[in-house]
């Protein structure tokens, strides 16, 4: 058996290293969804109680996460990572990127609750929620689901939800899914690459 270093071996090794580092074949840490899903469109109520559509983000890219405020572990962890990644971005894209938290638990997440919650992560994070019909219309668009467990004796219940962050460009086309496994530097790298693309 030969152990000679050939160009083929070097390329294979580089590919393996890239895979081990969690990059896909295009070098994204997250998942490139360009052209796979329809542009952003919704009717929801924001954290100020205003009825809004996707126009609220018009002209600027947005990173959107679906969760609920009675979620003490994964939601704050993901939102804090997103906010930290945004702070790492160079100007002006750092100021340009908008952050959105869509609660799929409208029964417990009114505008006031959403406002307090999003404010803990970033001034630029907008809380949104809506009726079940409005939320289903939005989540189905991006092939994600959410659901509720049976309430316990105290009336508390768990909500299952999508764990990825969806990133839309300035034309509100879905471009990237930042998966739950990504750490702050990887998120920042993907966001910077996407938002500085010509």
């Amino acid at each position: 058996m030969s152990l000679a270093v050939t160009p083929g071996r070097i390329i294979a090794t580089i590919a393996l290293v890239l895979l081990a580092a969690g990059c896909d074949d295009e070098g994204w840490h997250g998942k490139n969804i360009t052209g796979l899903m329809p542009e952003l469109e919704f009717r929801l109520t924001d954290e100020n109680g205003n009825r809004v559509s996707e126009d609220v983000f018009a002209g600027r890219p947005v990173a959107m996460y679906f969760g609920f405020t009675h979620c003490p572990d994964i939601c704050p962890t993901t939102l804090a990572r997103l906010a930290a990644a945004t702070r790492r971005l160079p100007e002006p894209i750092s100021q340009d990127l908008q952050l959105a938290f869509v609660s799929v638990d409208p029964a417990r997440d009114g505008p006031e609750q959403l406002d307090k919650y999003t404010g803990a992560f970033s001034d630029r994070m907008l809380g949104l929620t809506g009726t079940q019909k409005q939320l289903q219309a939005l989540t189905r668009r991006y092939r994600i689901t959410y659901g509720y467990d049976e309430p316990d004796a105290n009336g508390d219940y768990e909500v299952s939800h999508s764990s990825a962050i969806f990133v839309f460009d300035a034309e509100l086309e879905p471009r990237l899914m930042l998966l739950d496994s990504l750490e702050v530097p990887q998120m920042a790298e993907d966001l910077e690459r996407l938002l500085t693309m010509p």
């Binding site: 804090a80 999508s162 990825a164």
Partner: protein
């Protein structure tokens, strides 16, 4: 024979010293480190994280927790699969074999601290009583530090 006496004396002295060290305050059967509560605004539940080490010779099990600062405390684990997140109540508790530890950390095991009774601030100390099976006493009060929600 002076040398032999000296050696015997030395051995006796060393044995005595070893016995004395062995009799010093016995090691606590468990140790809880880095106990913290992540502050979530809005009156919703918060997460408690920590590392519990089992120094005893027995298998122990964390079976519950309670706190004067929260109406209800549950042991939960976040399950991430197929792009979905959900929480799982650990109804059998958390088993820790001798010499091992259980790490409660973001995106994994956590204490779910529900119905906060008062406004908490970063830097506050909150008492949470951990209840075990396999050690005595069964209840261990632990001081948790309130940390910012942005800290992992």
């Amino acid at each position: 024979m002076k040398l032999a006496s000296a050696i015997v004396a030395l051995v006796v002295l060393l044995a005595g010293a070893l016995w004395w060290v062995g009799q010093m305050a016995p090691e606590s059967p468990i140790e809880v480190d880095n106990a913290r509560v992540r502050l979530v605004p809005g009156g919703g539940p918060m997460a408690g994280y920590m590392e519990i080490r089992n120094h005893s010779d027995d298998v122990i099990r964390l079976v519950g927790a309670a706190s004067p600062a929260f109406g209800n405390v549950m042991i939960h684990r976040t399950i991430l699969s197929d792009g979905r997140a959900r929480m799982q109540h650990q109804s059998d508790g958390v088993r820790i074999v001798p010499g091992d530890s259980a790490v409660f950390k973001p995106r994994d095991l956590h204490l779910m601290l529900m119905q906060p009774k008062g406004a908490l601030e970063v830097g506050d100390q909150v008492e949470i009583v951990l209840r075990f099976e396999g050690i005595a006493p069964a209840e261990w009060p632990v001081a948790f530090t309130v940390v910012p929600v942005t800290l992992e």
